[in-house]
């Protein structure tokens, strides 16, 4: 059936014809509408108001957005930090997820499950920040300071998380260490569902080593997972906040660790300016949607 013919059938008949499909998606989309769509839309509306959660919202129009973009210097700094974090950690994390998933897929049996656990550990153990606090302690007993002093690189201990220039690089390192999360597990699962006969066929067709196999067979076969991983990576990299708050505090020294979401939490959670926080969330949303468009276009070219 061509596309044109499809449009000629009245919508009602089409819906009646596909009622099984609609019945199957109904429970999910009912819940999704109530607990996701409605809250998101109301947040977008709230972003056009002044709302302190105590009195009724007061209409502001574009006021919050104008203030954000024209008057709020810290927001601009946070935006800059977020872009640096996202541009550096996003692609690197993504490639690391893929690389480690692919390597782990070369092993098998219990060793494979064990390796998966080890590499997923920072995401699952819940206390991952504590270890970095011990490593980065600002006196000479901190692991990093201790080692650098012993090896003669430093004379005096450095207050790592209280020095403006070190905050962002440290956040990048910790974020990379934490990167093997959702995308990583999705890739592991994706590698499992690839039809194994594809590899035999490829070997006959002249694929010589594992790198060629990766580019010409494995990656094209797991495109849907690559797309999923990319969206997860974008939502993760642009929303970095927890590690910044845990390691550098909020506000951090000179706002060196400020990101869009720490700024949002500052206004939403501390100052009770929900309208302003919602405006930040909406801008972040637009930023992610734009990036996603770009990335999906790049991903379509995998394996060509």
């Amino acid at each position: 059936m061509t596309k044109q013919n499809e449009y000629k059938i009245p919508l009602r008949t089409q819906i009646a014809k596909n009622r099984v499909s609609y019945l199957m998606i109904a429970p999910y989309f009912l819940i999704f509408t109530f607990f996701t769509i409605l809250p998101v839309i109301s947040s977008m509306v709230i972003s056009l108001t002044y709302f302190d959660m105590l009195s009724m919202p007061r209409w502001l129009g574009w006021g919050n957005y104008l203030k954000l973009l024209l008057e709020d210097d810290i927001f601009i700094l946070a935006l800059k930090n977020t872009l640096v974090l996202a541009v550096v950690t996003g692609p690197v994390s993504y490639v690391l997820c893929l690389l480690f998933a692919w390597i782990i897929n070369e092993f098998r049996g219990r060793l494979r499950a064990f390796l998966t656990l080890i590499f997923y550990a920072p995401s699952i153990s819940g206390q991952a920040f504590l270890i970095w606090n011990i490593i980065l302690t600002g006196d000479r007993y901190g692991y990093l300071n201790g080692l650098l002093i012993r090896w003669g690189f430093l004379q005096e201990p450095v207050l790592w998380m209280k020095t403006y220039n070190y905050v962002l690089p440290v956040l990048i390192v910790v974020q990379l260490w934490l990167s093997l999360g959702t995308g990583f597990l999705a890739f592991i699962a994706g590698l499992q569902t690839i039809d194994k006969t594809l590899y035999e066929a490829a070997a006959i067709d002249g694929i010589k080593n594992r790198w060629q196999e990766l580019w010409y067979v494995t990656l094209p076969a797991m495109k849907p997972q690559l797309m999923f991983g990319a969206v997860m990576q974008i939502t993760g990299s642009f929303a970095i906040a927890d590690i910044s708050i845990q390691l550098a505090g909020n506000p951090s020294v000179g706002y060196a660790g400020a990101t869009i979401v720490t700024h949002l939490l500052d206004y939403g959670g501390v100052r009770f300016e929900m309208g302003y926080a919602a405006a930040i969330a909406t801008l972040l949303f637009l930023l992610m949607v734009g990036t996603n468009k770009l990335v999906q276009r790049l991903l379509r070219r995998v394996g060509e």
Binding site: S21, Y28, S125, K196
Partner: protein
Amino acid sequence: MVSGKPMVIIEKETLRERLFPRRSKLNRSRAGNALLFTFMAICGVFMALPLVMIVNNALKPLDEIYQFPPRIFVRYPTFENFTDLFVQMSGTWVPFSRYILNTIIITGGGTVGHVIIASFAAYPLAKHKFPGKTFLFTLVILSLMFTWQVTQIPNYVIISYLGINNTHLALIIPAWGYGIGLYLMKQFMEQIPDSLIESARIDGASEMRVFWLIIMPNVKPAWLTLAIFQFNLMWGNTGYLFIRSEELKPLQFAMQQIMAGGPARAGEAAAVAFVLAAIPITFFLLCQSSILETMTTSGIKE
């Protein structure tokens, strides 16, 4: 592999074949394997640090927890922290088993429900043609990009309006509609060849039968992975926003109360951290190994 003695040959397969999958004979060099193994071992040490620290902390006596400078490894391991925790657990106002039951209901309900409902919706989106399909799917992906902290207040209003505030349902039902599950399942289901579904339909299978007998078995790695994600999310939920009755609160909440007990309770807090991590890890290992059992040999085939 590099040991001096001749390797013990097991009748079916050598050690090398046990460590690496059978297809290692195809396009795999021995040097490459060795290189990868070394690389993984070095990286693994760094990644395993949090696990090492949780286990060691839980076994430290109180003076070692406060030892300065801090050490990662325990010197005189003890189970004191766990016995202390046990004593404290038996003395709570609400019986501790009640917290455990609440957590089983919340985590179990949220995980099983989400996997089933999201998979149910993912199948038509991946394999059927109907008006509105692309629009609905795009909505789900877009929703993943909106900061969830901001939607908490509208969510609270809606949950109160539906009259499920201060019940387990306030935590369970919204979890069924998370975007991640639908997206993940749809991506995997897309890969199932249409011919497989077509042949089942020709044999007279209803869409329900196709879903349970063809689709779900073929995407088993996907729903096991989704179960891991959702389990972790639900497990970490303290429910502080919606649940006020003490006898409805989950284990996570009670455990955090113990963790907030101050310096004298630091030992118990370390034991709590161990328990809170051990259960998701056990679940993770169970799911990961059953992904392996079913899928190592086949993959999705026509």
